[in-house]
Structure formats: structure tokens, C-alpha cells
Symmetry: none
Subunit: 195 residues, 4 copies
DNA sequence: CATGAATGAGCCTTCATTCAT
DNA sequence: AATGAATGAAGGCTCATTCAT
């Protein structure tokens, strides 16, 4: 990658990060291109040098977040730890990330209305991939006798709900930092699956 | 109340119900007055006969849902049942209601951006009232030795997250009806607090 | 005229009077049917029993005012007084009426945009009739040697401007009543024509 | 000021000028943003690049006209001429300007309904400043024995009425140009104050 | 006669998007 | 690469008007 290309890639990433936080805060329709641009001291027009349109920008911001999440879960799955600890770890990471980046993972309610069919397919594929990371861990825990779960998908979604929702109520004002917070919440969420 | 008045009240209620479901699905900015109207085979203009503006409509729809929720929790709290059963019951009711009405309870991300100061005050007051209904039950369970909870507020929000999120993933296609579904999810969520 | 007819006529007149004052204050586009109705504790719909539409209502309100004005000037013209006194009298009457009824005589700027061709024709005809009342007096004064006026139409319009404008600045707060006020202003305006 | 900035300023001024003429003709409510835009072969949306909203546009157009008027009167007041000539001159300038720009000076009936409190304050302040320019000249003329005026404010408003009203009836069709017209009308208006 | 309710056209405003420079 | 300027589509809201009761 040339210097120029690297510079462009870096700029793109900055935009995505900024967009992510704004999107989480105000939703798709509530976030304007102007918002995203001015947040980075750019002009609206410049954004279009990096992204085809708003849909594209939001799509890529989703991809970014999901790839990172999938990476996270894959990393953790590989660790040589009891399944209980691995699940708790990934839950804590998810929460910490959500809170720090202020990015509601799937807060983009009803992606059907936003994305093109093709984009939607990829998004749903990645969501599923991420979700099945949890499913695998849950199944493993059930098999090992550590977890008591009869409805893997229901439980997985319940876990994700409890995790994703934190962006709605976590406040930095408290005496806790994000890491401590994530650890505590993860502990409670784990109870859902533990025997 | 005269016949006319009752009819008007009913119409208002229909609009609120329709709005609620659309708002939960597409968010504040994603839901247009046109959407709400055409969903009821009305015209945009008619809505303004019943509500001052969009803000007012959304505000009242929030009030409606929150009053009903607060009623629900108060009813259940009065029941002569062990605290464990009472909490589980209210969780199940919340979920069933959320799923049936397709209304995300607090899905209005960042109400600060939507409501007036005065409206916001009332909304937050009611939110708090509903939340403290859970807090009371949690405290009671802790005192009675049934629950093991060290961070009441964190746990309460975690519960609410798991509950509210169901609107994002529950699908009627499954073989379960809403009641069965709610019962199952409530059981899992209860594990967060049980000793 | 039957009792019913007289009642209807009276109601029509009340509406016209109320409309006149609102129109003078807020202009054609600034005055809504709702304004006019609620000012009389009626509902919008009722107005349509008495008038075909807003245009008609405003048209008739203009006719009313202009007929009355033309009557006034004709009455005064007939009086057995020197032309100077007759002109001063009609000017004072115009001003007093304008101020009391809060009706800007021709404040309906650009009637072309409001009225139909036919209505416009009548309006302009009456305006002209009223104006030529002044022209006659001016000519008479010139002939009698009382007035010194070389441009009758220009002077007539200048007079009317000074008169009509009073609705913009007369305030009841002052220590004068409308009659005294009209008398004083008329005196000054008369200087425009006096030798 | 850069070229760009000058261009922008010029564009803004064009819009103001166009708006002024339309507002004088059709009033605030009767003039649409579409009107103003299409008059300049622009689109509605473009106007919003230069002005925050309609209120802002109209407010600035008023400021423009009033600042210019106040400048005019101040210039004339400084001239080394008898007070009679100075007053006649400013009246003629006012009329000529009103007619040429087709801008009714204070034709914005009831500004209270249009402007914000803050805007209103400034507008009224400037109105007053302009008016007191006339008051000063009137007082000076009284003191010098040239004018015969017992009610300065009433006379000032009467003068302004006669002047402002010209936009309602001056027609280019005549054989006179604006300058000649203004001179003649000013002469007649002067009679109001002359001894 | 009066009114509650509904409608649709029109206006103000926002915003994603484009494009010349 | 960046930006100032312009555009057009869409959304919120108002209001004249209609009509069944």
C-alpha cells in the first residue's frame, strides 16, 4: 500500500469511527452527513470522496464493527480456558467495547429499511456468524455440563439483549470505569446460562 | 363521556397504538407522519386533528405505554405471592406486551433530542417510577434471601435490557405463541437474580 | 325581509365586521378562517353557511367598507358648506372610521392576487368612485380658488396615503380619543391642498 | 474580503433586494420562499444556504432597508442647507427609493407577529431612529420659524404615511420618471409643515 | 344551522447528493 | 483532496374547504 493509500485508508477509518458513535447515539435517520463531517472538522462534500453515499458509509461502519466483533469472539474461543471463562470474557469484551465506542451493536433497528438487498445479505450473514459464535460456546457449555440451557437461540438473544442494551443506560458519571463495569455486568449475565 | 367523545378517544388511542408499533420498528426519525397515517388508512392531515404535532403524538404514545407498564407492575406487586414469582410474572408480562404490541419500551434512543424539557421531565419521572418498581422487588428478594444481587440498579437495567431487546428478534413464525415465549424468556432472565 | 332573513343578514354583518378588523391587522394571508370564526365564538364550518369561501368573505368585507366610504363622501359632498370644510370633514371621517374599525382601507395590498377578475373589476370601480369623490372636491376647490393643486390625482393619492397610514401608528394608549385625533390629523393633511 | 466572499455577499444582497420587492407587493404571508427564489432563477433550497429561514431573510431585508434609510437621513441632515430644503430633500429621496426598489418601508404590518422578540427590538429601535431623524428636522424648522407644527409625532407619522403609500399607487406607465415624481410629491407633502 | 372530523394542496425546512473549481 | 454552492426530494405542518350527522 502506498503512502497515499494508507493515508486514505486511515481517513476512512476515522470517518467510520466518528460515524459509528453518532449513529449509535442518534440512529440512522437522526444522523446527518453534516453531523458526521462537522464532528471531524470536515465539510459534507469531502465525505463523498471516501464513501459513495450515506448508505455505503453506514454499511461499512457496520461491517467494521461486526468484523471486529467476530474477530474478538474468535480470539477468545481459541483461548485455552474453560468454556465458562471464555463466554464470560467475550461478554465482558462486548460490553466494554459497546460502552467505550458508544456503538450499539445492532442498534440499527430494522436494517431492512436502510440497506440494499446485497448489503443486507452480508450484514445478516455476519450477524449470524457472530451469533453462532455464542451458540457454539453455549452448546459446548451444555455438553460439558457447565451450562443449563434448553433453548440455545433464545438464550443467545437474551444474552445479546442484556449486552447491547448497556449503551442505553451506562453513564460515565458513575464511579466505575468501563472495564470494571463490563466485568460486573458480565458476571450477572453469566448467571443466565450457568447451572 | 358522550358517544362522540368516546369515539374520538378511541380514535386517538388507535393512532397511538399504531404509532407505537411503527416507532418501535423504525425509530423517531425513521417514522413519518405519513407512515402513521397510512397505516390506519387516514391522511397525514387528520392526525393533526388529534395531536398538536409529531412530538406531541410521540410523547403521548410514550406516556400511554409507561402508564400501562406502571399499572402492570403495581398490580403484580400487590399479589399475594412469593417475591420470586412476582418478579417472574412481571417480567413475563413485560415481554408479552412488548412482543404483542411490537412496542419497544424505551427504544426512543436519546429522548433528550426529541422531547421538550417539560415532556422529558415527565418521561424520565415515569421511567424512574417503573424502574423503581423493579428495584423494590429486587430489594425485597435480597432481604428475603431469595435473590443474590449486590448492584440493584445494574441488575435492574440488565433485566430491562434483556426484556426490551426481545422486540428485535422475536418472530411470530416460530412454533411458539407470545405467552409461551414470554414464559420461557422470563425463566432465563430470572436466573440473573436468583440465589 | 322575514325575521329569519334579517337574523341571517345580521349574522353576516357581524362576521364581516370581525373579519375586517382581523384582515386589517394581519392581512389576507395572515388571517385564517379559524381566526375569524373563533373571534366570534363560532366554528370554522359555520362561516361557510354565510359565505361561499374565504375569497367571498373578504370580497364582501371590502364591498361593505367601500360602500360605506362612498356613502360618507356623498353625504358630505351634499352639505351646504364651503369646499374647504367639506374636504376636511370627509378626511376626518375617513380617519376616524379607519382608526375605530381598525380597518386599513386599501391595506389589502395588491388585490389582483386575491380576487377574481370580476370581483377585482368591482373593487377597482368602487375605489375609483371613492377616489373621484376626492377629485371632484379638489377640482371644486381649485376652481373656487381655495386650493392650490396642479396634479389632482397625485395629490388625491397623497392625501389617501396620509389617511390610510394612520392605522399603522395610531395607538389608543394616547390621551386622545379617535375623534380628536382625526380632527387634528385632518387639519394637517388639509395643508397639502390649501392655498 | 476574498473574491468568494464578495460573491457570496453579492448574492445575499440580490436575494434581499428581490425579497424586499416581493414582500412590499404581497406581504409576509403572501410571499413564499418559492416566489423569492424563482424570481432570481434559483431554487427554494438555495436560499437556505444564505439565510437560516424565512424569518431571518425578512429580518435582514428590513435591516438593510432601514440602515440605508437612516444613512440617507443622516447624510442629508449634515448638508449645509436651510432646514426646509433638507426636509424636502430627504422626503424626495425616501419616495424615490421606495418607488424604485418597490419596497414599502414599513409595510410589514404587525411585525410583532413575524419577528422574534430580539429581532423586534432591533427593528423598533431602528424605526425609532429613523423617525427621530424627521423629528429633529421638524423641531429645527419650528425653532427657526420655518415650520408650523404643534404635534411633531403626529405630523411625522402623517408625512411618513403619505410617503410610504406611494408604493401602492405609483405606476411607471406615466410620463414621469421616479425622480420627477418624487420631486413633485415631496413638494406637496412639504406643505404639511410649512408656515 | 352548527359542528366534529377529514382531506389535500401548499408552504417551510432539512438533507443527501452533485459538481465546478 | 477539499469545499462552496446548488439542487430536488421528502417530511412536518397549516389551512381552506367539504360533508355527514
Amino acid at each position: 500500500m502506498s503512502l497515499r493509500e494508507r493515508k486514505t485508508a486511515k481517513r476512512k477509518d476515522e470517518i467510520l469511527k466518528s460515524a459509528l458513535s453518532l449513529l449509535a447515539e442518534k440512529g440512522y435517520h437522526g444522523t446527518t452527513m453534516e453531523d458526521i463531517a462537522s464532528h471531524l472538522f470536515m465539510t459534507k462534500g469531502s465525505i463523498y470522496y471516501y464513501f459513495k453515499d450515506k448508505q455505503d458509509l453506514v454499511y461499512q461502519s457496520q461491517l467494521k464493527i461486526m468484523h471486529r466483533s467476530i474477530n474478538n469472539i474468535n480470539e477468545v474461543k481459541k483461548l485455552d480456558l474453560p468454556v465458562t471463562e471464555r463466554l464470560e470474557k467475550i461478554i465482558a469484551i462486548h460490553i466494554e467495547y459497546a460502552v467505550r465506542e458508544r456503538a450499539g451493536f445492532e442498534l440499527m433497528v430494522n436494517p431492512n429499511e436502510i440497506f440494499s438487498a446485497e448489503q443486507l445479505k452480508e450484514i445478516l450473514y455476519l450477524r449470524d456468524k457472530y451469533a453462532s459464535g455464542y451458540d457454539d460456546l453455549l452448546q459446548e457449555g451444555v455438553d460439558s455440563g457447565d451450562f443449563s440451557v434448553d433453548h440455545i437461540k433464545i438464550v443467545r438473544n437474551t444474552l445479546l439483549g442484556a449486552m447491547n442494551w448497556v449503551t442505553q443506560w451506562f453513564s460515565f458519571e458513575g464511579e466505575m470505569n468501563e472495564k470494571q463495569f463490563a466485568t460486573i455486568v458480565a458476571k450477572y449475565i453469566m448467571r443466565i446460562v450457568l447451572k
